[in-house]
Amino acid sequence: MTFIILGLSAILINNIILTRFLGICPLLGVSKKNSSAIGMSLAVIFVVTMSAILSYSLYMYVLHPLGIGYLKLVSFILIIASFVQFVEMFLKRFVPSLYQSLGIYLPLITTNCVVLAVSLDVVAMSGGVANYDFLTMLIYSFFTGVGYAFILIIFSFIQERLINDKNTPRSFKGSAVALITIGLLVMAFMGFRGMI
């Protein structure tokens, strides 16, 4: 039951885009077409979960016991960058069709703050004890990725209409109206607060 609540809260209530403003650049960048939004979403879910697992293991079993926790930023970003590179090479070699559809979004993920933020979240400690055990970490990172994908896909449907809308004033075109639309989306999602 706690896992269901944790998952739901990561998707609807504490959504990483809507409450913590992370991953806005890709949200505006790739949401202009449905198909690219879906490709990006799948890539994000996969990379967020995998890099959270890798970062968590590295921190808990290597960095923290050795007392070099301050190296986490450098090592996490290296893990993420090399993992993304590795996935890209793997897909290119073994699943070319998936590579064709995901290919261009993969390198972009390295600079997606969602990935690094989730990796930093799961190793947070309070009073020398880890806030997340392995299973909780797994659920949290997976559903945070799903929450990101959820908003990205919803927003891509809105964006497709916004781009073709003739009524938008000239100075609002592009990012300005998109940002205001996200603002309204956030307001709608605020209704979920207090549900759990």
């Binding site: 992370l22 301050y70 600079t111 930093l120 998109a178 603002g183």
Partner: protein
């Protein structure tokens, strides 16, 4: 390129926050109050100057194929240093900024300038470019924070960056008439959108006027 143009372009023509829409996560997240936006801006300026200078100094020895990992490691190390310094000397501010301080690593402004400018230009030019871009980013943060804090709380509050002690505050709008939405998450997006539209409008008007002037000049001859 002229030194002055490098510096000025970073502030106005290529303003990271409002023209290029880079580094939006910290822009939205830390502009809840004027002081946290100021602290974030200072942290970004420090990071971008150090990274640009460091990268431009070693640019001849970085192989082109692995430049991105090299850049990221340099940026991450410098951000770690700045984060530790802030935790030591500006504890309250580092608590307010929280995870966004670490996330400067993936701020596209910094990687963007390192890749586009510092890898191709000498140390002094890179320093000027970093200073201009940083100040432009800070100005964007402050503009958004001013608008949000003023409408959301009815006034402004200033505190010391080092100790976090309240220094001076005032309130112009009575409590019953403030719009708390603007300090909240939706207000961040809406205010950013409105300001971006305003800046778009000004940029377009300036471009139109220039065109008209050019046409008038051509007609006069």
């Amino acid at each position: 390129m002229k030194k002055r143009k490098i510096f000025i372009d970073g502030i106005f023509a290529n303003n990271a926050a409002f023209i290029l829409f880079l580094g939006m996560c910290p822009t939205l997240a830390t502009t809840k109050s004027f002081m946290s936006a100021f602290g974030m801006g200072i942290a970004v300026i420090a990071t971008i100057i150090l990274t640009n200078v460091a990268i431009s100094a070693i640019r001849r020895w970085v192989p082109n194929e692995i430049r991105i990992p090299v850049l990221i490691v340099i940026i991450a190390s410098i951000v770690t240093i700045i984060e530790m310094l802030m935790q030591a000397f500006m504890y309250d501010l580092s608590q307010t900024l929280g995870v966004y301080l670490s996330l400067i690593v993936v701020n596209c402004v910094i990687l963007g300038r390192a890749e586009a400018f510092a890898m191709k230009n000498n140390v002094f030019d890179s320093f000027l470019d970093a200073l201009g871009t940083g100040i432009g980013f800070l100005a964007g943060l402050l503009a958004l924070a001013l608008a949000r804090e003023f409408l959301g709380t009815g006034g402004l509050a200033f505190s010391s960056l080092l100790t976090g002690k309240a220094l001076w505050s005032f309130q112009l709008i009575p409590d019953n008439y403030v719009i708390p939405l603007f300090v909240d998450a939706p207000g961040a997006f809406i205010m950013f959108g409105l300001l971006a539209a305003l800046i778009n409008f000004v940029v377009m008007k300036v471009a139109e006027n220039k065109k008209k002037k050019a046409l008038a000049m051509a007609g006069g001859k």
